[in-house]
């Protein structure tokens, strides 16, 4: 089992509902976020290409954040979800430095925090909060090893990309293009 996510850039409107849903679901303090929106603009008016993307921790298969964590607070659980145990985290920020996606932040209470793929929901068979709220239904989540999961089906017939594949981290978030 390998959890993954696909986000359709042709449908994402950059509304940030995924961000608010994550904040209310996971009690992410105001001023911080576990997911965020980026916009890239290419070209010159009026020949312009714009891509809107919802980004978060890529739950890398080969995760530098886990490798460099001195206490083992950063770890990988079943399904490839990368988590941080707040109690074990000493807030040294090594993981923040090592993450090529800038996915982690220091929580005001001192530990490092980031996207958990809503594992408290996922273990009950629910979708992540962002997936379940997105008004354009552009986030697909599920088991990449299961060919019939939402995410596998979404990836099947479309072109897609991952972010910074050259970093060699094996990201599990894909963008449909």
């Amino acid at each position: 089992m390998r959890y993954g996510m696909a986000i359709d850039t042709l449908k994402c409107v950059g509304c940030a509902d995924c961000v608010v849903a994550c904040q209310t679901e996971n009690k992410v303090p105001i001023g911080y976020c576990r997911d965020w929106i980026t916009e890239t603009v290419d070209g010159t008016y009026p020949l312009v290409e714009v891509e809107l993307r919802s980004e978060r921790c890529n739950h890398c298969e080969n995760s530098p954040c886990v490798r460099c964590c001195p206490t083992g607070a950063s770890h990988i659980i079943e399904g490839g979800i990368v988590l941080v145990t707040p109690e074990a985290c000493i807030g040294c920020s090594a993981c923040i430095e090592s993450c090529p996606y800038d996915a982690r932040y220091t929580h005001p209470s001192g530990h490092v925090d980031k996207c958990t793929f809503c594992h408290h929901r996922v273990e009950k068979g629910l979708n992540t909060a962002c997936t379940s709220v997105c008004p354009t239904h552009c986030i697909y989540f599920g088991d990449l090893d299961n060919p019939r999961s939402d995410v596998s089906l979404a990836l099947k017939n479309r072109k897609y990309k991952a972010l910074a594949p050259e970093a060699g981290t094996g990201p599990q978030i894909f963008y449909l293009i």
């Binding site: 042709l10 449908k11 409107v13 950059g14 509304c15 940030a16 509902d17 961000v19 608010v20 849903a21 904040q23 209310t24 679901e25 996971n26 009690k27 105001i30 001023g31 976020c33 603009v41 070209g43 010159t44 008016y45 009026p46 312009v48 290409e49 714009v50 891509e51 809107l52 809503c118 408290h120 929901r121 379940s132 709220v133 997105c134 008004p135 354009t136 239904h137 552009c138």
Partner: protein
């Protein structure tokens, strides 16, 4: 200090001190009303048990039904869409999800406030509800006695407005207005009515999920998060529908479109006429439909003869072949095509005609009542709770709007004008109740608004937040948020009729109260108790629900109830004759109504003024995380966007030597300078002759601790207003701005 009747309260004692004492953080949930057995249990991320209560969202007017999740201490954890609801299909937009922030905002109005005159300026003093309500009731009654009830006006928006409308009609005043008409969608409603015999209404009955071609002209779905439309646009994208977006700015929808037409602002009617020309002269229409269902085709054909794509190119800067190609795309998709009516459409003063042009185009394409076009909506009417007949007002909003023959609702700006003695005609307004609408951020031409606020004898404001309008009030009443109150049943016109319940998920915080309670209290004090024959509004709702074959109990469990359609299919059958409430019973390509009133029966293109050198057209719009100015202080939403910025083409920035992030003040064609500076966002998504900003920022009330001074108010910069002669809409897109790197001394106020 200037001696005036009412000083604008800048830094006052608003809410200070006593507010702390009153704000006993979480009031415990009242067990009788908040029977926890009604809530479905779920666990939060921290393993807490949560209960849910039904609501419908009040962050915008789409009114999505949802569930409010409460933890055991009565804290609101999250709000989630109701899966049975056709407005949201189980998913709220970012603002709806962030509705939590509206409730938890520590800046909320907490207690009634009464203006008190002091030597060095007015201040607000905290008051009891008794004092505040008595004062308002005696002022309104006094004015009624002296000048007549219609001299007390109601300016309102949203759910609270409904309760006060009842109060006002009982009181004998129909001097009622809301910015949603003349400042927003009124022009399209009347343009549509002249063509199809009825309003488009809200939500618009656009069958986007099945459309083959969606044309957005001045409508930015995705940035305006009209929930079901955004969801359906995504479905249309999945199905590979052709999207055509006309916008001088590369909007979000434009980025998803097969065709983006970066039109020169103010020339839409030229493009719409050219599209008609191509459809008619390339014979792309369904002749049988035209014959059977439309009136005035030959007149229209003659009318648009010279409006070729080549002609339109000169005005719109859209290439003729693109105009042709897109017209063919529409016709190929017809009747599964939607030329979207748009929403905020008060632009250039010829907006009813612009709305008409859009309606005519849909009429030609045969999309009315067709799958993938416009479905035939159906709603269920909520029975009126019995009350004595309303008295007949001596005069009303219609008398104030008599210069605009097709106005069908109160014109806010005319109510405001009638409040200025020198400008008022035979009918004068003497007092206002303002509920749920922040006038200084909504009404253009601030000078007139200021004069009116200065002139009226009394202003009462009902709001949840210390909005700018609050500073002009004589009495401020703190309303509780939608999460803490009952409101009227939401009955929706949709593919299927549905109703939704809003019930309090918890007791109101602080000393805030629901609007229905405030209206009842005022009514009783003004001798109108018979109209408020209930102790709790839930009695009214229960009675209404019983009449509809449901009950409060059922709705507290379900939140939403859908009913089967009674009017048959939401679509006309092929070849079926369309029946409309126009004079001719047909789609009026030539409007008999407009002709009879002496207006152009078919839309004409007029050139609108262009900016002087060094000036740029000011365009404003929406961001998906904000609604009007009401969300700018919401912690969850301001976290996503805490200010607006000025979108500027790199060429423009170059000419001025500006860099991204630099702050500038704006000065408009009338010399009005923005109160605050705004940061420049240099982007290729913007046309070089215009600048763009998101509406709703630049709050001037310091009590809004997150929003005060963040960004600027587009409304402040709108002083040139072109009034639509047909229905009185206030065209607000004819304003031009230039940039100042510093605020001149004399502009400091």
């Amino acid at each position: 200090m200037e001696k005036s009747r009412r000083n604008f309260i800048k830094v006052s004692a608003l809410g200070v001190g006593g507010a702390m004492a009153l704000g006993s953080s979480w009031n415990l949930v009242n067990a009788s009303v908040f029977d926890s057995s009604k809530g479905e249990e779920v666990l939060s991320s921290e393993g807490k048990k949560l209960k849910r209560y039904p609501t419908y969202c009040e962050v915008c007017f789409w009114k999505c039904a949802g569930w409010v999740y409460l933890d055991e201490e009565g804290g609101i954890e999250k709000i989630i869409g109701n899966e049975k609801d056709t407005h949201c299909e189980g998913r709220l937009c970012p603002r709806g999800t962030g509705g939590v922030g509206m409730f938890s905002d520590p800046d909320r109005l907490k207690t009634p406030l009464i203006r008190v005159k002091k030597e060095d300026g007015d201040i607000f003093q905290e008051a009891s509800w008794e004092e505040a309500l008595d004062l308002i009731a005696s002022k309104f009654s006094g004015i009624k006695e002296k000048y007549g009830a219609p001299s007390v006006a109601l300016l309102k928006h949203g759910s609270p407005g409904k309760h006060f409308e009842h109060l006002f009609k009982a009181f004998g005043s129909d001097t009622i207005g809301e910015p949603a008409y003349a400042q927003c969608r009124g022009p399209r409603e009347e343009g549509w009515a002249a063509t199809f015999g009825g309003w488009v209404g809200s939500p618009e009955p656009t069958d986007i999920r099945d459309t083959k071609c969606l044309v957005l002209i001045g409508s930015h779905i995705g940035e305006n998060m009209h929930n079901s439309q955004v969801q359906e646009m995504a479905q249309a994208i999945d199905k590979g529908s052709c999207i055509i977006t006309v916008d001088p700015r590369m909007s979000t929808a434009a980025t998803k479109s097969k065709y983006w037409l970066p039109i020169k602002p103010s020339t839409d009617i030229a493009l719409l006429l050219a599209w008609m020309h191509v459809i008619i002269y390339d014979e792309l229409y369904d002749a049988k439909h035209i014959e059977q269902n439309t009136h005035g085709f030959e007149e229209l054909k003659k009318h648009v003869q010279t409006f070729t794509p080549e002609w339109a190119y000169g005005h719109t800067t859209i290439k003729p072949d693109v105009i042709r190609k897109t017209a063919h795309e529409m016709a190929n998709a017809a009747p599964a095509v939607i030329v979207h009516p748009g929403r905020h459409v008060a632009w250039y003063g010829d907006d009813t005609q612009r709305g008409r042009a859009i309606a005519i185009l849909n009429g030609l394409l045969g999309s009315w009542g067709k799958r993938g076009g416009f479905y035939l909506k159906e709603s269920i009417s909520v029975p009126k709770y019995p009350h004595p007949k309303y008295p007949h007002p001596k005069w009303d909003w219609k008398d104030l709007a008599k210069d605009y023959p097709m106005a069908k609702m109160g014109l806010t700006q005319e109510v405001i004008r009638a409040s200025i003695p020198s400008e008022a005609g035979e009918h004068q307004v003497k007092a206002w109740l303002v509920a749920g609408t922040n006038l200084p951020k909504t009404i253009p031409n601030k000078a007139i608004l200021k004069k009116a606020m200065e002139a009226v004898e009394f202003i009462a404001v009902v709001d949840t937040m210390p909005m700018d309008i609050v500073q002009h009030a004589d009495v401020v009443l703190p309303e509780c948020t939608y999460l803490e109150r009952y409101d009227g049943i939401r009955s929706a016109a949709n593919r299927t009729p549905s109703i939704a319940l809003r019930m309090p998920a918890r007791k109101p915080m602080y000393d805030s109260k629901p609007a229905w309670w405030i209206a009842k209290q005022l009514g009783e004090r003004m001798g109108l108790g018979d109209y408020f024959n209930y102790n709790d509004y839930s009695e009214v709702i229960d009675w209404q629900l019983q009449q509809m074959g449901s009950s409060l109990e059922e709705m507290q469990h379900k939140g939403v109830k859908n009913f089967p359609r009674k009017s048959g299919s939401p679509y006309y059958q092929d070849g079926e004759t369309i029946k409309l409430k126009t004079n001719t019973g047909k789609i009026e390509l030539y409007s008999t109504e407009l002709a009879a009133l002496g207006f152009d029966p078919m839309p004409v293109f007029t050139k609108h003024p262009e900016p002087d050198p060094g000036f740029y057209r000011l365009i404003y719009g929406r961001a998906p995380m904000h609604t009007f100015s009401r969300t700018s202080n919401n912690a969850n939403l301001s976290d996503l966007m805490d200010t607006n910025s000025l979108w500027m083409n790199p060429k423009t920035a170059n000419v001025w030597g500006f860099s991204a992030g630099q702050e500038v003040y704006l000065k408009n064609q009338d010399g009005i300078i923005s109160e605050f500076p705004i940061k420049i966002r240099v982007t290729e998504r913007m046309r070089w002759d215009s600048v763009y900003m998101v509406h709703g920022f630049g709050h001037s009330n310091r009590k809004l601790t997150r929003a005060f001074g963040h960004g600027i108010s587009d409304t402040d910069m709108i002083t040139n207003v072109s009034i639509d002669p047909i229905m009185g809409g206030t065209g607000m897109r004819g304003n031009f701005v230039t940039f100042l790197t510093e605020k001149p001394e004399e502009a400091e106020s």
